[in-house]
């Protein structure tokens, strides 16, 4: 296949189209707008639907409607927009409608800024809206993965009837990297539950209301049984030099690529550092963390936030190994400052 130079946001949009996405519903917001712009250009040419919604609320509810037809549909936004979408994501999760939701994330709280950030980690991994639910969250680290994860997201969404979120820092949306184009998906699963008109069958209902006590509880159990299966099957992480690592750094997304450089430099200085990069933020790859803890004296969570993923690392380690934190917001930590932090901790621990 040919190698092409693509902006991350456009690679993601093209990946979605290759995966058979034929409905995009969105609202402009920096730094995600190139996804909507790409879809606005492409959808009319491939028989797809593009609607610029009047609001993020309308956009996510269009996704609710679009997904209910069985079509592969998506929306993309950035952090403040994701806050507005939470109502719809809760409904979509309960109605078990497969779709892709993209957060090309930026700093907050409030309007924050347009600098890349990872401070929507809690919102993404804890459900985000009202009620008990989860979405699968994938964190790409480069343009190729923007494309590949978009394609994979639709497969996971259909497989489990669940909204899948891609959380990519603003950096990933806007950098250009050469990528290998993929083949379009041609096999799609049947969706007998879709509301397409009841010709030749009983009416289908897409609903999230459960007024009876038992009914409500049993619905929540059904969802959580599904989440359990996802936890068993879909946790993913990359490990780098963790076998003998005494300091294990954990970072996701673009941050993981920057940390990798610092880990290599630390090794050159004789510090046994390693890296775990969660690929799925939910389900969180806790077993990968525990495996990497074999020789670890301490963990270091590096995030573009005030410290959110660190809680999942602590939960995974259950107090066995101390977890330190290094993060910035407004800036993306560079390899030098991470190396400095690794060396400072190594010295403190006598490593």
């Amino acid at each position: 296949m040919e190698r092409v130079l693509m902006k991350g946001n456009e690679a993601l949009a093209e990946g979605a189209i290759l995966a058979g996405c034929r409905g995009f519903f969105g609202y402009p917001i920096t730094p995600s707008s190139e996804i909507a712009e790409y879809m606005a250009r492409k959808m009319p040419k491939i028989g797809g639907v593009f609607v610029q919604a009047e609001s993020e609320l309308a956009a996510i509810n269009m996704v609710y409607g679009g997904a209910s037809t069985g079509a592969r549909v998506m929306t993309a936004s950035s952090s403040p927009g994701l806050s507005l979408k939470q109502e719809g994501i809760s409904f979509i999760s309960e109605a078990e409608l497969p779709c892709l939701i993209v957060n090309v994330s930026r700093g907050g709280p409030g309007l924050g800024g347009i600098q890349p950030a990872q401070s929507d980690y809690f919102q993404a991994t804890r459900g985000g809206g009202h009620g008990d639910y989860h979405t699968i969250v994938l964190a790409p680290s480069g343009s190729q993965e923007m494309m590949d994860f978009a394609m994979e997201a639709f497969e996971l969404a259909d497989k489990y009837r669940i909204p899948v979120m891609i959380m990519a820092e603003g950096t990933l949306g806007n950098i250009m990297e050469p990528i290998l184009m993929r083949e379009p998906v041609t096999k799609f699963s049947e969706k007998p539950w879709a509301t397409t008109g009841c010709r030749g069958r009983k009416p289908n209902i897409v609903n999230t209301l459960h007024l009876g006590n038992e009914e409500l509880e049993s619905r929540n159990h059904q969802l959580f049984n599904k989440y359990q299966i996802i936890k068993e099957n879909e946790k993913r992480a990359d490990a780098f030099l963790v076998e003998d690592a005494e300091i294990v750094v954990v970072a996701f997304g673009i941050m993981s690529r920057i940390v990798k450089k610092a880990v290599i430099e630390a090794r050159k200085k004789g510090v046994k550092a390693g890296l775990v990069r969660p690929v799925t933020l939910w389900p969180f790859p806790d077993e990968h963390i525990r495996t990497a803890a074999k020789n670890a004296r301490l963990f270091l969570s590096v995030e573009i936030s005030m410290g959110q993923m660190i809680q999942d690392i602590q939960l995974a380690l259950a107090g066995r190994v101390p977890v330190e934190f290094y993060g910035r917001i407004g800036f993306t930590p560079n390899p030098e400052e991470i190396l400095q932090e690794i060396m400072r901790l190594a010295e403190r621990e006598g490593l």
């Binding site: 609320l57 409607g65 008109g197 609903n207």
Partner: protein, 247 residues
Amino acid sequence: MKKVFQKPESLTDAKNHYCPGCSHGLIHRLIAECMDEMNIREKTIGICPVGCSVLAYDYFNCDMLEAAHGRAPAIATAIKRLLPDRFLFTYQGDGDLASIGMAEIVHASARGEKITVIFVNNTLYGMTGGQMAPTTLLGQVTTTSPYGRKAENEGYPMKMAELLSSNEGSAYICRTAVNNPANINRTKRAIKKAFQVQEKGLGFSMVEILSACPTNWGLNPLDAMKWIEDNMVPYYPLGEFKVKEEQ
């Protein structure tokens, strides 16, 4: 024996939960009769709101969705765009459509979405116990306007049919009432016309229906019908506000 009256096929056998004298059951039936007569049940997808008619998905015998509060027009938009040969209707109350869902309804109309909106206006939030809605009349007492709605405090009741008729994308906008047999017949004709406008692809269609809520108005069903005539119709005039003809 000749059968002269029967339940429409487009309604299920489920027993509805509506209060005595409530207009929802009647309006459901009118929609269902239109679906039967146009033979579109199997290609109709309905979207119900949050409010008293939240359970309408149990009563219509076609594919149905339950929407978040006010969002039905956005949901209908996406379905219609992806499945252009299906019939889409939303069924919305006045709190759902004219308050929390104001953006969705105005923009669905402005875009000329080829969907039909059934807008049930009973001047208040019914399911939550009779609170003030954007459509509550001046002077009307509700649980959140206990001294009567005052223009200086709560502003003026919103006229949705008039408002939406100013959008170029609106192809058919009509206001009817269900307070007497003649008006009920007119309502059915309006619903059918709205579906026909959708079938022809002319644009957005809405029928606003003035309806009774005896429970929250504190009236018996008969007096509630009279209340529509005496209080609602003078402020919310009946008739067609927009009729776009075929080019």
